[in-house]
């Protein structure tokens, strides 16, 4: 259950990531000069790389359970410290909670290896007493373990023939791997993070210079609507594809997978992008038959 409080914490984590100072942790930056340099040494701070919730570059595509990951899970830890003083009641990190309600408190999160910082509400007794694995790192691992593909383009079809001036309807078939929801979990060090991925938008590059952004899978065309435009996701070509390379427009559909994760008392969001293509012929004259 993703509460509003979790959602608020998620926003803050995202914001923190964007301003975060970079990691100087293992693998980041050249050893020696930047190893252990404070953030006042800006060159080191900047070359530290991605401070995003996605974790360090070394936490990329490998398979779960590899020795790299085992090492990473030991290293990529976060410390939770109760903020003193506590933020005022109007700070968004409180979410649905209230300061002084006796149920919990806001904790500062800092993760030296990834550079992540944030604030999270934790119920009394739930805050980790010792540094523990960064849930954001586990979230990325869960995402890496999922099969997330580009849109399964149902229309336009490569075999179809399309006509200038006639509304084209674009839509994608929905499955767990091509549209979601798709979910996976990753565990380490007593923390389990569950990530759920769902396509939040598909950007269609039509090949004629037009770009159409659709916030859903699109609407399947039904013959009964005749020449109507798609209510959700469509395009009208104004020129034939005769002069395009190969006589066809190359249509590229790019989906943005929005991943929400939750675990270890924290929540967050990250995104992944995937692409599919189809080549379509668009003619000047309506093809009869």
């Amino acid at each position: 259950m993703l509460t509003r409080a979790a959602a608020a914490a998620m926003l803050l984590l995202t914001a923190a990531a964007s301003t975060g100072f970079a990691a100087g942790g293992p693998g980041a930056g050249s050893a020696g000069i930047c190893d252990g340099a404070p953030l006042t040494v800006t060159v080191c701070a900047e070359q530290g790389g991605s401070p995003s919730a996605g974790g360090s570059p070394s936490d990329g595509a490998g398979s779960a359970g590899s020795s790299t990951h085992a090492d990473a899970s030991d290293a990529q830890q976060c410390t939770y410290t109760k903020l003193d003083p506590q933020p005022p009641a109007d700070n968004v990190a409180w979410g649905t909670h209230q300061p002084g309600d006796g149920q919990g408190a806001l904790y500062g999160v800092n993760c030296p290896d990834t550079g992540r910082v944030g604030v999270v509400w934790m119920a009394n007794g739930n805050a980790p007493a010792a540094p523990r694995i960064d849930p954001a790192v586990l979230a990325q691992r869960a995402v890496d373990s999922m099969t997330l593909l580009g849109p399964d383009i149902a229309s336009p079809r490569a075999a179809g023939r399309y006509t200038v001036g006639v509304p084209m309807w674009m839509w994608a078939n929905q499955s767990a791997t091509t549209y979601g929801p798709n979910s996976a979990s990753a565990s380490a060090g007593g923390v389990t993070v569950t990530a759920t991925a769902k396509v939040s938008k598909i950007v269609w590059q039509m090949g004629d210079g037009a770009t159409v952004t659709c916030t859903g899978p699109g609407t399947p065309y039904k013959g009964s609507v005749g020449m109507a435009e798609s209510p959700t996701c469509g395009h009208v070509y104004s020129k034939s594809s005769a002069r395009a390379s190969g006589g066809k427009y190359r249509v590229t559909a790019t989906s943005t997978w929005t991943v929400s994760w939750e675990g270890g008392g924290e929540a967050g969001q990250l995104s992944e992008v995937r692409q599919s293509n189809v080549q379509v012929a668009v003619g000047e004259v309506q093809v009869v038959g």
Partner: protein
């Protein structure tokens, strides 16, 4: 608010010199992201066996925006940081670590602060190595 920023740096300098915030009043003047970043910094310094030495100076600290009417009053400030007399010392190697060759020595830093229960606290601190001053 400027006083809180100055105090923060005084406490932060103490912490950097031993790579440990224990025994400092850093938490009284910095919180949220700023505090988290400093803690990350200190943890990485401890891990690498380094401490800071020398002096970190600020000049021209000015308030760039302030909102005292908000429920939680907020302000932004900027200044010019000078690290020419600031060193990273490796306790392990017993030597001062050289700065990267392209490290600017004077550059802009910005901060955001909020007033919590009458006390200003720095919530965000950002260095701008590409903006010399």
């Amino acid at each position: 608010m400027l006083a809180a920023y100055a105090h923060m740096w005084a406490e932060q300098t103490k912490a950097y010199k031993k790579a440990d915030a224990t025994g400092t009043d850093l938490e009284k003047y910095a919180t949220l992201d700023a505090l988290g970043q400093f803690r990350n910094d200190l943890a990485r310094m401890r891990q690498a066996g380094t401490v800071a030495r020398g002096e970190l100076t600020h000049s021209g600290t000015k308030v760039t925006s302030i909102d005292l009417k908000a429920k939680t009053p907020k302000a932004s400030l900027s200044d010019c940081m000078d690290i020419s007399k600031w060193q990273t010392y490796s306790v392990k190697k017993k030597q001062v670590l050289p700065l990267p060759s392209n490290q600017p020595l004077r550059y802009v830093a910005t901060a955001e602060a909020e007033r919590w229960n009458g006390q200003w606290l720095v919530t965000v601190f950002t260095t701008h190595g590409n903006e010399k001053c």
